[in-house]
């Protein structure tokens, strides 16, 4: 059936090709856009999919914000469209609210930031930046993408099953998550998206190790590739643990084996929780075991979300400061250190879980050490722009914005690393502020920087610069005004994931702050439409991009303006590191990796 469709479509495409006097044999629409094995097409598929999910997740966030600012009041316009099982008179019901917080985080983490960072960027950048034609395993690559929409649909299907979708938070802690169809779908979806991540990761590691262009040593690779490479290692080693955890939760949900469910638990109706442990021969399950295995993946996952972005930002900063990366090797070692430490610090998410306090001390010390490589990176970025020649293009603005917000997110992380302080701020809005400073202010600004930076190579068109700048400025301002006050209500004790904070006396004074946050959250949400409009408009009407619009040094700019299958139209040999900006060897202020030394000499200025 599949094959029949393929050949049928294929025949059509050939006919069309003849009509339009195409020179080359044109693959069918399905082969070209749906089941393409070209890494650039797969990158675009990842990009569009996660852009779509970004809008979905953003909409969920605005629902949440509306409820916190104006609890019990109907959602404007949309409220009346939603079914009564979710809203009453247009106002969000508590059950729907917990589904929203769960789905907002699930979508944003598993279907926006991870696919964007390790799907879109890794796919687009790795082969181009190491000077090769495609990934090592193109078909595996295609499978890696197609698992994402399947997983997304599986999780989204939860909204249409009895009892609604998953509602136990994105961390899905049992026993709350151990019953209900929505939770089972969540577990299946996460397993699938994890499989996609593993397939992607093994492909990226192989590609980087095996397919580098002639002359390119590991230490000639751009920071983006380094970061993506280390991230891919994290993906392949961390994700399977989450997969195993998900399988065990599935066994608990479907067969009630009692792996995470202790003996004799009550359900909310007062009955006994269905559980192998209750029939007499069973043992007590351990809810904390889920948390250990979950965070053993999900802490490295935090770095899966941020490391690629750190690489992208390094490249963007160097290019637009027209200056080599300060401390290239130190940056690489810092990434390695973060990745290694990332695997031994998961317990700081569990200071309150009731685990042994000795383990708490251990995790506290290991976690605080992770601040060191992070600060090395910050200092090196500052060193990079020091005595530079900074051009304020949109990608660079986003990269600079990244540094500014990431410092804040990193420092608020120190509070969480310290156990006794975490006791108080755990599960409050301080954590929410932190995660958004890291994942929105950090990852998303870096993603914007990357999208603008590689847009010309991806689509062969230039994006609209003024619209890009406007998008950055509005996003940066509204972002800070939206998320910074969350630190304050967090210190005030405002819990996260609560449908109506004002049942508590001590939270009542925070309603004006919540309204303030909501106003800027709405503005922030709408500011993203500028980005989407800019991208769509520029793909259609943008000015054609030159081959190397940023006068950058890395190999992707050696490829044609809009590279086709196979990427390069010239042989690629690498002669030097990726950041030879303002080199005295060259008359120009940049010296690409692929220029032959003999060729450079022709334009060399007299050495002083």
């Amino acid at each position: 059936m599949e094959a029949a469709v393929l050949t049928h479509e294929h025949g059509h495409a050939v006919a069309h090709a003849a009509d339009h006097t195409h020179e080359h044999h044109e693959p069918s629409f399905i082969r070209k856009y749906l089941f393409s094995t070209d890494h650039k097409t797969i990158a675009k598929q990842f990009l569009t999919t996660s852009m779509f999910f970004l809008l979905v997740g953003g909409a969920f966030a605005l629902f949440i914000r509306w409820q916190l600012a104006y609890p019990g009041e109907p959602i404007p316009i949309i409220g009346s469209w939603l079914p009564d099982s979710l809203v009453s008179n247009g106002a969000i019901q508590p059950g729907f609210y917990t589904q929203l917080v769960t789905m907002h985080a699930t979508v944003m983490i598993f279907f926006v930031i991870i696919p964007m960072a390790t799907g879109a960027f890794a796919n687009f950048c790795i082969p181009l930046m190491i000077g090769t034609d495609d990934m090592a395993m193109p078909i595996v690559n295609m499978m890696s993408f197609w698992l994402v929409p399947v997983a997304g649909l599986t999780i989204m299907a939860g909204f249409f099953v009895e009892g609604g979708t998953a509602a136990a938070g994105w961390t899905n802690y049992p026993p709350l998550s151990a019953s209900g169809m929505g939770h089972t779908l969540w577990v299946i979806g996460v397993f699938l998206v994890g499989f996609s991540s593993i397939l992607g990761g093994m492909n990226y590691v192989t590609t980087v190790l095996n397919k580098r262009a002639k002359g390119m040593r590991m230490f000639d690779m751009p920071m983006t590739v380094w970061a993506l490479f280390i991230t891919a290692i994290l993906q392949t080693l961390g994700t399977p643990v989450l997969a195993a955890d998900a399988v065990l939760l599935f066994v608990d949900q479907v067969f009630h084996a009692g792996i995470f469910i202790p003996e004799n638990l009550l359900t909310p109706n007062g009955g006994l929780f269905p559980n192998g442990a209750n029939v007499g021969t069973g043992g007590g399950g351990q809810p904390v075991l889920w948390q250990h295995l979950f965070w053993f993946y999900s802490h490295p996952a935090v770095y899966i979300m941020i490391l690629p972005i750190m690489g992208v930002v390094s490249d963007v900063l160097a290019t637009f400061a027209r200056k080599p990366i300060y401390g290239y090797k130190a940056m690489v070692f810092a990434i390695m250190a973060i990745a290694f430490l990332g695997f031994v610090v998961w317990g700081h998410h569990m200071f309150l879980s009731g685990m042994s306090p000795l383990l708490g001390t251990t995790f506290m010390l290991s976690t605080i050490v992770i601040a060191v490589p992070s600060s090395i990176k910050i200092f090196n970025w500052l060193g990079t722009i020091w005595r530079g020649d900074i051009h304020f293009t949109t990608p660079n603005l986003n990269a600079l914005g990244f540094i500014s917000t990431f410092v804040c997110g990193g420092l608020s992380g120190v509070f969480m690393a310290i156990g006794p302080i975490d006791v108080y701020i755990h599960d409050t809005y301080f954590i929410v502020a932190h995660i958004h400073y890291v994942l929105f202010g950090g990852a998303l600004f870096g993603i914007f920087a990357g999208i603008y930076y590689w847009f010309p190579k991806m689509f062969g068109k230039m994006y609209n610069e003024s619209m890009g700048k406007f998008h950055f400025v509005t996003t940066f301002i509204t972002f800070n005004l939206c998320f910074f006050p969350m630190h304050m209500i967090g210190v005030g004790g405002h819990m996260r994931r609560i449908h109506d904070p004002y049942v508590y006396e001590f939270l009542k004074p925070f309603q004006p702050i919540n309204q303030f946050i909501t106003i800027f959250a709405i503005l922030l949400g709408f500011a993203q439409l500028i980005l989407i409009f800019n991208l769509i408009w520029s793909v259609k009407f943008g000015r054609p991009a030159p081959r190397n619009p940023w006068r950058a040094n890395t190999l992707e700019w050696a490829a044609p303006a809009h590279p086709g299958h196979g990427n390069f139209d010239r042989d690629i040999t690498v002669y030097r590191g990726p950041y030879e900006f303002a080199s005295p060897e060259s008359k120009r202020d940049y010296l690409p990796q692929w220029i032959r030394p003999a060729h450079v000499e022709q334009e060399t200025v007299a050495k002083h």
Binding site: I198, G238, P240, A244, G276, R570
Partner: protein, 194 residues
């Protein structure tokens, strides 16, 4: 365009597929690590339940399966060797034995499972059996996952063109030995020691 020399020998000297397979196996080790960690923690918390559960299992059948997998591992290694020597007949023979061993493994597994079900033992019976069915079940899925390419290569080798991609058979071999490896740990941990 075709004169481009972008496609060159793998930098590490290890074929893409083989390198990818090793990374995948590293990933698989972590996957089973998750199960084994859960097993260790729950076993320590519920020693008597686990000890009782293990006595319900049929260890002679599992021992037979162990032998089964060891034989298949040997024949898999020998089949690669035969193909490298160009001995098509022996390649088919050894790969055939490997396939048969895998079938035998699944048949024995089927007998084990159905006996458990007939005694009223299901994954929900206790956390021990939850883990037992999960771990052996995922191992069995891996066996099936290995049988598909084994069967395909075997079928291909009987066609006119034959099958001569030693690199691919070697990659498949790595996977197959890994499946054996997992069983080497599952056998004592689930059936023997408690």
């Amino acid at each position: 365009m075709s004169a481009l020399s972008l496609a060159h020998e793998p930098v590490t000297g290890i074929r893409h597929g083989k390198l990818g397979m090793w990374i995948f196996l590293a990933s698989e080790v972590m996957f089973f690590s998750g199960f084994f960690t859960a097993f260790i923690i729950l076993r320590n918390a519920n020693l008597s339940v686990f000890a009782h559960g293990a006595t319900e299992l049929n260890w002679p059948l599992a021992a037979l399966n162990t032998v089964n997998l060891i034989v298949s591992s040997l024949t898999m290694a020998m089949s690669i060797l035969s193909l490298e020597n160009g001995d098509k007949g022996k390649f088919q023979l050894y790969l055939g034995i490997t396939f048969l061993c895998a079938c035998g493994f699944l048949v024995i597994k089927y007998i084990e499972y159905t006996t458990k079900f007939s005694h009223g033992i299901y994954p929900g019976t206790s956390s021990f059996f939850g883990l037992y069915f999960t771990m052996t079940g995922f191992h069995a899925i891996h066996v099936i996952g290995g049988m598909i390419p084994i069967g395909w290569m075997l079928a291909k080798s009987f066609t006119k063109r034959g099958y001569a991609d030693t690199g691919r058979v070697e990659i498949l071999g790595l996977y197959w030995h890994f499946v054996d490896l997992v069983w080497i740990f599952l056998f004592p941990v689930l059936y023997l020691i408690f």
